[in-house]
């Protein structure tokens, strides 16, 4: 408790400083004019920015009414609910002026309730340029107002005092504009802009400190989220794993690639946001993530089909490795005796990023947790994976993951040991992530 009070006081002091020094900036909202463009064009661009920013994922709640809020976020400090951002005058942002919208999106400050919790990724949206912000504002004025009341947050002290969030902002909020690197290509900068601003990729993929602020010096190096690891997506890691631009575009566009499939939160990001973006933008993102100045559209499209899985068979020697028998007993029925998977049903394991990643965390977690089925389109989907928590020992998981990393991930280290599995199993259990697929009865 004492610790919480000290944190509270520190944040309070920082809040005063922020309000004193920062308030001038709030008022200084640039006013870009779009004289030459018609409103329709601006609104359409705004709709696109809303897709890029994935607003719908957090602001469309259980009622299904678009942008009416109500999505619950289970934070370590309690429940936070997203709000109604339709132009409804009573419950939404119908009484907002353009400046109010700017403050909320770029500065995390609502004229209705005060400082916003950084669950709203204003720390990334801060990098949006004024032109996109204007378009977004025009779009949110054009959508249907929905009179849906907001749910009250349920947070513990000191997190329930919004005033302190000003302190958090003062300590951790990088209030600089997006920096265009003139030494790099236009396409590379476009990708950077998307990744840092609208795409807010760092919100999940950048490690956070003890007070849940992103650590800029570790940008995109991976972070734990709801019992998974949002992977390390730095160029160094992606290159070492053998990702190419087409793989990334496949994954962002279709939720699947030669390197594996997206699940859970990233699956939603693909469905709501990335899959609706033009190939040019996805090429720019892949270029930035791989640190390449130029990625041609032909390179990432060619055909709309996924890059085929390499049909690499296990050698007799591979089959003598410890871990192979566990693989046959529990995994091969779906993934195939050689890990080739089944088209449109089960992912292939050769070169799968679960095994090419430096961190073995997700490969261990997925064996213990399983995965829900998913449908990416009318013709594309993946069946669910059972939780093997009750079936396999720590040693079996360790051997299995080391085997898979070696034969499909080209990693020679036997990095995983029993203690590592035990620790992850206990952590997942404590956090309630094991056997979460309640509907799955049989294994």
């Amino acid at each position: 408790m004492k610790k919480l009070i000290i944190i509270g006081l520190a944040l309070g002091l920082a809040a005063v400083i922020f309000i004193y020094f920062g308030s001038g900036k709030l008022a200084n909202v640039a006013s870009a004019a779009h004289q030459s463009e018609t409103v329709d064009i601006i609104v359409e661009r705004g709709r696109q920015v809303a897709i890029e920013s994935d607003c719908v994922a957090c602001h469309t709640g259980p009622s299904g009414a678009p942008f009416a809020g109500g999505v619950a976020f289970d934070s370590p400090f309690g429940m936070i609910y997203s709000t109604n951002i339709t132009p409804d005058k009573q419950y939404g942002i119908g009484l907002y002026q353009r400046e109010d919208f700017y403050r909320a999106v770029k500065w995390g400050y609502s004229s209705k309730v005060g400082n916003l919790y950084p669950a709203m990724p204003f720390t990334s949206y801060r990098k949006l340029n004024d032109e996109d912000l204007d378009a977004l504002w025009a779009y949110f004025q054009s959508i249907k107002p929905i009179a849906e009341p907001n749910s009250a947050n349920d947070l513990i002290f000191p997190a329930n005092i919004r005033f302190f969030l000003g302190g958090w902002n003062q300590l951790f909020f990088d209030d600089s504009d997006f920096i265009n690197d003139t030494n790099r290509s236009e396409q590379w900068n476009k990708g950077k802009y998307f990744v840092e601003a609208a795409g807010h990729c760092g919100e999940c993929h950048t490690p956070r400190n003890l007070l849940f602020a992103m650590q800029p010096d570790k940008a995109l190096q991976g972070e734990f989220l709801e019992g998974w690891q949002a992977g390390d997506i730095t160029a160094k890691e992606l290159k070492s794993q053998g990702w190419n631009a087409k793989d990334l575009v496949d994954l962002l566009k279709m939720g699947e690639s030669r390197k594996g499939s997206t699940y859970e939160n990233m699956y939603l990001v693909v469905n709501h946001s990335l899959s609706h973006m033009p190939n040019e933008d996805l090429a720019a993102i892949s270029g930035y993530l791989l640190d390449k100045d130029q990625v041609s559209i032909a390179e990432v499209t060619g055909s709309s089909d996924l890059q085929p899985i390499e049909r690499v068979y296990l050698s007799q020697e591979d089959k003598t490795l410890s871990g192979y028998q566990t693989y046959v007993d529990y995994c091969a029925g779906c993934h195939g005796l050689d890990g080739l998977g089944k088209p449109e049903a089960v992912v292939a394991l050769h070169q799968n990023s679960a095994f090419t990643a430096q961190s073995p965390y997700n490969s261990i977690a997925v064996i213990l947790r399983g995965l829900p089925s998913k449908r990416q389109s009318q013709t594309r989907g993946v069946v669910s994976m059972s939780s093997f928590n009750a079936q396999v020992s720590d040693q079996q998981v360790a051997e299995l993951v080391n085997f898979a990393r070696q034969v499909w991930g080209a990693q020679k280290d036997a990095k995983v040991n029993n203690d590592m599995v035990k620790e992850i199993r206990e952590k997942l259990d404590k956090e309630g992530y094991l056997n979460h697929l309640q509907m799955k009865k049989s294994d």
Partner: protein, 177 residues
Amino acid sequence: MSKSTVNFILNGKQIGPIAVDQNTMMIQFLHEHLNLTGTKFGCGAGICHACVILEKTATGHVTHRTCINGVGSFNGKNLMTVEGHARIDVKTQELELHPVQQAFIEHFSFQCGWCTSGFVNEAIGYYESLKQNPVKKSELRSSIEASLAEHVCRCTGYVKYYEAIEDLILSQPELVR
């Protein structure tokens, strides 16, 4: 090809230890080594649940799909297939089906019967679980549906399967609360 050892109890009998090809799936073993062909192979991909068999554990029953699980994953288990549920009455020498099987027949629950062995095993596991944890009467239908939700039947429309179990359970007041 390398061999692995199989060793479990099936329908009350000890099976093994015997060496089988390392890559053998359980359904293959049931069909080809034990000549138990009552367990059906449907999709072969873990989706339809036709191939489900039952495991008796210390705390209750668990079901397993045999098309996607290697025979080695069943070692040490106490298992039942569709062949193992009926009893011969020692006095009359008549075949006595498990009440779940009897209910399915009385309700004309299946037509081609391909899905039936899976339904029988899942429903028996569910029925037995109610002996420990009776279900609220008001939740009976939804609990039956949840327990059989993953079993695919392409002939009957499910209703007769669900009704058969519902009738059976309601005929035994100790299974509901």
